[in-house]
Structure formats: C-alpha cells, structure tokens
C-alpha cells in the first residue's frame, strides 16, 4: 500500500520529510549534549560566555546606530602600541567600552586594590545568591521545584531580626553579644525558613498538592505576614517605613578588609562556601544524600530501596527552606542591619542560579559569582557608558541565556533521547 496519492498528499509528505529529517538531524546533537563530560561542559560554558559577548556586542553596536548622541565613537585597532586602523563608526555605543565597564564594574581595579568597592558589591550579591541558589538546588536534587525560597528567606530574615533585637536587651553587648547573637540569628533563620519550607513538602507528601503552586502561594503569604507582623508589633514609633528596630552593631556582620560602606562581610561569603561544601558532602557521601538523590531522579527505585518518599519530601524541603532562611539572616545581619519589607528577589534569582549551575551545589558558587558580577557590573555600565539600563538588562539576559542553554539542551537530551543510545549500546 502506497501512501503517496494526490498532489495535496505529496505536499504533506514534503512537509513531513522536512520535519522528520530535521528530527533526524537534531537527535545526534542531543545525544552529544546528553553525553558530555564535566570537562566538556566547563569548556562549553566558557565558549557560550564568549559567544554571548560577541552577540551582545553586535546588539549594542546596532542599537547605538539608531540611538542619538553627540558623537559616535571611533574604533581604534591598536597592536603593540601601534595604531593599525582607525574607523569612525556611526554607532553611539562602543561594545568594547560596554563590556570593559561591565567587567570593571564587577571586579573593580584588582591590580590596584583587591579589596575594592566594586568587587565587594559583586561578592555581596553573590553571597546572598549562594544561599538561595543552594536552597533551590537541594530541592531540585530531591525532585522538587522550590519556588518558595523567597518566602522562606523573608520569614527567616524577619525572625532573625526579631530575635536579635529582642535578646539584645538581655544579652551583654560587645564580643559576647557577637558570639551569642549571630549564631542564634542564623539558627533562627534556619528553623523558621525550614518550617516554612516543610509546609509545602508536607502538603505534597500527605495531600498531594503540587509544590510549585503551594510554594508560590506561600511566597505571598510570607510577604504579607511579614508586613503585618512588622507594622503591627515590631515597628519603632519614630520610623516611616515598615521595618524593625535596628540591630546593635556588635551583632551585625561588618565588612572586614573591604570598604566599610560596601556592606559585604567576607565571613558571610566564607560561611556560604562552608555550607556548599557541607551540602555537597551530604548529597554525595551520606546515606541520607543517597536517599534524597534517588528520590529526585527515580522515585519508584527510591521506594524499592526502602526510602520513605513522604518523609524525604518533607525533610528535603525543610533543608531547602533552612538554607533560604539563612540567606534571609545574612541579608539582615550583613546588608540591612534590620528587617525591612520589600526584600529584593534573591529567592527568585536563586532559581536562575541553580539552573545555571545544573543544580550542582559547587556549580552554584560560580553561577552566583557570575550573577552577582553581572548585577554589580550593570550599574557601572549605566553610569559610565550611557547605555540605557534596559539594554544592559538585555546583555545580562543574553549571558545567562547562553550559559544556561547547553545545560538546558543536556537535560532535554537526557529526556528525549532513547536511553540506550546514550550508552552506545548495541543490542536488545
């Protein structure tokens, strides 16, 4: 029996041929992506970063041609001190200048002073993103999509602030206060964030409620709850904005080495690294981590191996929430010195960080540094080059998109491609 009869049929066949040959062509590439080694993945990330700069540069240059300015920039090709070529362009924005101020805005002048203000800004952002990125990654590893890190962070922040402000009245100040109140604040943030994270975990385990929905909803609940509690009970009378009283300075995380005004405490960054190492250890070296990872990638095999799926859901979400809550504590102790409503979206950025890192805890450090650097650098680009901030946002988005795409295709590849092709298996 032949399928091709009639002209409309053959036109369909042509379309289908295009489609199927496209599928045939794509599949080997997906297989390739799905089977990349960690070293190759690192190379791909670096190449993607470079490519995003090239593409972004073209966009900047093109936008500069339609923008109005007093004087388009002139391109100088300089090699070993000799000017080889000069090209007066028609574009207002010099891509080279944009990217160099993005870089210098993120790192500052490292050769002049390693402990400079710009780097401190980057590290401040990165520190907070390490906690939230790690929070999202842990939930991911257990097979759950925790969109609720933001809410866990908000309540963790509020609780830490309240505990410190309240106890500061009874605990002696100075060094004793530092060593009592800061650990206590971290513990409070972890417990409150953990409980707030455990709620959607329990709802999923015992009421089969989708955690994506419940965590999103709990974000709103957390924000409103924080507003209500702060404005009703914890707001000093002489302030206008909705915020708690200030934390005594001996209980805050103060910049050390870095400029005082940067609000970056290297202790917090190191604490983040320690937590990353601890989470990595738990995931890869402990029985609990084995249970958690197994539940994440193959729940039915986890059940077979004796894992209690319900308990793992609750405990992994609690762990994830605790990390988010600690992020809130750090924000209060290091950045704000008090709790104030309108917490920046560290929790949501944590989702991007985690995906960028392939949900790998150690990768989260690098993803957080990249993300933090881009945030700090973007400010410099706006100030120094006059490129509008929307365009800077495009450049930032491009970098994240380019770096995340290979990881995305890798995940697609693993889902779509016949598992047997991955192993180069040749029978059965």
């Amino acid at each position: 029996m032949s399928a091709g009869s009639g002209s409309d049929r053959s036109r369909r066949d042509t379309l289908r041929d295009h489609y199927e040959s496209a599928v045939d062509k794509v599949t080997p590439h997906l297989v390739r992506f799905a089977t990349t080694s960690p070293y190759e993945r690192l190379l791909i990330s670096v190449a993607a970063l470079a490519l995003s700069v090239v593409v972004g540069g073209l966009i900047v240059f093109g936008s500069g041609m339609v923008a109005t300015c007093q004087e388009p920039f002139t391109f100088h090709l300089v090699l070993f001190g000799n000017e080889l070529w000069t090209w007066p362009t028609t574009s207002c924005y010099d891509p080279w200048a944009v990217y160099s101020s993005l870089l210098s805005g993120a790192t500052g002048n490292l050769s002049a002073n390693i402990y400079n203000y710009e780097l401190a800004l980057t590290l401040k952002e990165s520190t907070l993103l390490i906690f939230t990125g790690l929070s999202v990654a842990v939930a991911f590893k257990a097979g759950m999509f925790n969109i609720g890190t933001q809410g866990q962070l908000v309540l963790g922040a509020l609780a830490s602030a309240i505990v410190v402000v309240t106890l500061a009245k009874v605990v002696p100040g100075g060094l004793v206060g530092t060593f009592v109140l800061i650990p206590l604040a971290v513990l409070t943030g972890a417990v409150v964030g953990g409980v707030w994270g455990a709620i959607p975990g329990a709802l999923k385990a015992y009421a089969e409620a989708n955690e994506v929905i419940t965590t999103i909803m709990l974000n709103f609940v957390a924000a409103k709850l924080a507003f209500f509690l702060t404005s009703s009970y914890f707001q000093p009378e002489n302030t206008q904005s909705v915020e708690t009283a200030e934390i005594p300075s001996y209980a805050t995380l103060n910049p050390w080495l870095f400029p005082q005004g940067s609000k970056f405490a290297i202790v917090a960054f190191l604490f983040g690294l320690v937590l990353v190492a601890a989470i990595w250890y738990v995931l890869t070296r402990t029985s609990y981590g084995y249970d958690l990872r197994t539940s994440g990638i193959q729940p039915r095999a986890a059940e077979y191996s004796g894992v209690n799926a319900d308990r793992t859901m609750v405990s992994s979400m609690a762990l994830s929430g605790a990390l988010g809550g600690i992020g809130g504590t750090i924000w209060v102790l290091m950045v704000m010195g008090r709790f104030q409503v309108g917490v920046p979206a560290f929790g949501f950025d944590g989702i991007t960080v985690s995906i960028l890192a392939g949900n790998n805890p150690i990768g989260a450090i690098f993803a957080a540094l990249l993300f933090g650097g881009l945030k700090a650098g973007s400010l410099a680009v706006q100030f120094e080059t006059g490129v509008p901030k929307q365009l800077v946002g495009v450049l930032r988005g491009l970098i994240i998109l380019f770096v995340a795409m290979p990881e995305f295709f890798r995940m697609v590849g693993r889902r779509v491609v016949d598992p047997r092709e991955l192993g180069g298996d040749h029978d059965e």
């Binding site: 029996m1 032949s2 399928a3 409309d8 049929r9 036109r11 369909r12 066949d13 289908r16 041929d17 199927e20 040959s21 045939d24 070296r285 402990t286 029985s287 609990y288 981590g289 084995y290 249970d291 197994t294 990638i297 193959q298 039915r300 095999a301 986890a302 059940e303 077979y304 191996s305 004796g306 894992v307 209690n308 693993r414 598992p419 047997r420 991955l422 192993g423 180069g424 298996d425 040749h426 029978d427 059965e428």
Partner: protein
Amino acid sequence: MTYAVQLDGITKRFPGVLANDDVDLEVERGTVHALLGENGAGKTTLMNALYGLYDPDEGAIHVDGDTVDFESPRDAIDAGIGMIHQHFMLVDPMTVAENVVLGHEPTKWFGLSTDDDATTREVRELSDRYGFDVDPDAAVEDVSVGVQQRVEILKALYRGADTLILDEPTAVLTPQEVEDLFGVFEELTAQGKTIIFITHKLGEAMHAADQITVLRDGENVGSVDANETTREELAELMVGREVLLEVDKSPVEPGELVLEVENVSADDARGIQAVSGVSFDVREGEVFGIAGVDGNGQLELVEAITGLRDARTGTVTYQGDDVTHESRRDRIHRGMAYVPEDRQERGLVMDFDLVENAILGSQHQAPFADGGRIHWDASRDHAEELIAEYDVRPGDPNADSRALSGGNQQKFIVGREFERDPDLVVATHPTRGVDVGSTEFIHDRLLSLRAQGKAVLLVSSKLDEVQQLSDRLGVMYEGDLVDVVDPDAVTEEELGLLMAGENPDTADPAPTVDTNSGGDDE
C-alpha cells in the same frame, strides 16, 4: 536468486566495541527469518543498519537486488522496509486508525481537513486484508499490548512496507498473544511480505521462523533451516559451548518456616482489588513457584510481601514475626531480597553508575554505610565483584546503568539481590530478557541459594522455568491462588488450564489453551 534483503559483509564499530563483524545475511522473500543471539550479540545493531538508523562502516545492503545506501529511516521506508521497535511509538489517547495514518492522513476539502471516514475505512480494509482483529475506532490506550503491536505492524504496512523487522516482538506479550503474533506472521508471508524478527529465545525461533541466522559476538555463526535443526544445536551456536537446557535439581530437605502469607488481599495502582485472600508459606531450602499469566495479581502480591504495597487484609509473617505493616526498609534489613519485575523503574536508578546501583537498598547497611556515611570503596568493590561474578557487560563499574542492555541490567540486579545474604529471595521474572547462557547461570545460583537453606519465592510466566525450579507450584488467576500443585506431577496442559481459570478436573480437556506456546525455552 534475488533476496528481499541481502546484507553483504556489514561491519559496524562503536568506540571500543566491534558490534557487527563482516556479517552476511540473506533473507528470502515471503519467509519468516529469525535473527537469534544472546544479549549483546549485535542483532539490533545489524537491523538498525538495515533500517538506516546506523551507517555501517563497511559492507553493502541490497534490497530486492538493488544496492541501497540509507541515510535515514525515511530512505528505508521508501525502499519498503519497516521496523517495529521493542518500545512502541504510539499516541495513547488517539484511535488505532489515527495512529496508523499518522503523518499520512487522508485529507478532504483540498487538504484543509483530515478525512476521518476514509481513515477508518482504509485502516479497516488493511486490517481485514491481513486478518488482524483490530477495531480502528478503539483508543490505543484501551487495547492490549498485543493489539498495540499489531497497530505498529499496520503502521508499517500503511507506509508501504514489504519487509518488516520486529525487535524482540514477544518480550512484552503473554503466551497467547505470542501465538496470535505468529499467526499474523503466517498471514503476512502468505501475501508475499517478508519478516525478520529478532529474538534470543530458541523455541520461538524454531516455532515461527523458516530460516534462522545465529549471531554471536557480532558475527554470523550460521544460518540454518528451522526444520533441520535442534534446540541443542542452536543453543550451542548461540553460546559457543554446550548448554544444559534442563535444570539439574538435587533434593533439599525443607527446614523452618520463613514466610507465611495468610489471607492477603491488595489493590492495584488504580485502587481495584488485585489480590483476594491469598495464603501460602515458604520454608528454608524450598522454592515456591507462582505461575500465572502476567497481570493476575502476582505483582501486587509480591509487593505486599516485600513492603512496597499495603496489604488490605491478612498478615505477612516473616521468620515468626508479623511484618505486615513494617516498612520496606525494615524488611530489607531483615534479609528479604527482591528481584523486581520492572528493572528500569524499580531495580536500577538509570542515571546512577553501577557503583551507586550496587548499594541500592543497602545504602543504610554495613558494610556500605555506617552512622549515615557511605563507604564508596566498599561499594565499588561490591560492584566489581557483581560484574565479574554475573558476567555483566560492559564490565565498567563507572558506566551508567542505562548504558547496559536489558539482559545485563537484569544480571546486575539478580547478582545484587542474591549476594545480599538473604534469608528470603523473592524473584520476579529473574531471567526475563536474559540470554540462554546467563539464564543457566541464574538458575544455578537460585538452586544453590536453596541448597544453602534459603527460602525462595519465584514468580515467572515462563512455565518451564517455574516447573523445573519449584518444589511446590502455586497458580494465580484473577487474584486468587487457584491451586498449589506438585511441579513434577503436573502437565503443562493442566497448568495452562489452571492459568486460564479452568479446573482441569472438571473442564473438557480437548480445547486446550496452549499456554506455553511462546516457547520460552530458557
């Protein structure tokens, strides 16, 4: 003479593996040709080359005498070759007819709409022509696996296939469906179609094929006429040495009671009662077999025993203790080993390597863990032992388990569970998908566990397997344990009737259901 398909010196290399080594294959038009070989012999690779999925490194392919060079399956389909993979590619909510014409839908109104009436009509005609008993309007998700397979065959025929390649077509079928499938083969060849089917089951090859080509380690080690060969000859060709097809079972005196199942009922995943009040017991040094057509409650019963499913009523007693409501983990720690039916969902974590999979189930137990920490060195040693002992290939402990073929995955799981030092082994289809040589080995191991005084609960749909290995044999039908028989005294015919829900003492024995016709020979 012109062959429907002629392969000439096909060689295909993968990194580190010579999958096909200078393979010749000649398939006559209008015949059924079986491609027989162990797991990893290169059967599927060869057929993928014929179907345009792989480009062979050397050799030529001739179809109906013409030399062809397929770049993709599209070219192969255009040349009249269709392939039905082990895993069906059907859209479940759509009807049979819609699936058959998918991508080639008849249209009306100048191509603006699909012509549903013509679709149904064409598919019904096609189905009738080959004597397929298929309802074109039924949704694919509502029909049995056997019918789904026929839909796949119809799909290939609708696209104009003259030569059909089927990859392990019987792996997913019940014995009755296997028989139906072979009937379909006859109908198709009678009308001039050519069939190539891949199998590792000798009995099936001899039963259904006209010619048999045996592959071993990627080489063609012989093509024979099905009528002129013996099982022993084929087994020797496949394995490369003489194989004992009969199990050598020495008597063991049963000891203490290990497992007592009393009046256990359980529901299936949809909440429908699947097991109704089953009772039996297993002693030390005894193999208790459960025979039955798949889906008669065996899975649910076994899961209730191993702790993966709640028993709705009844008790499960293990070594004198009531474990009915104990967790799965506690039962593992008590020494219950379980070879699950679904190896890729339950038995292995596909994205874990073999080192990680070697401790699946023991991740909280010495010597692999203590106080919450995992000892990866011990796990690696264990994985390497399992690989060596159970001949798992490729023998790389760092390979992801998804990289292994199904038979090798099964060998790894069986090894892990048998080496757990269990007191009770629950083995469901322990040799499913495993080749003849490894089947022999797994059977040996099972019997040596029995000789060591372990209790074994063996569930299998292979009649000869349960019959040869069991000391007592229960038969399940629609959730009931309908009878417990002496496997040495019962005939296959009687077993077949019991499995079909009839009582052999009262039923008319003439129209028997030949339940073992699948020729499961391992």
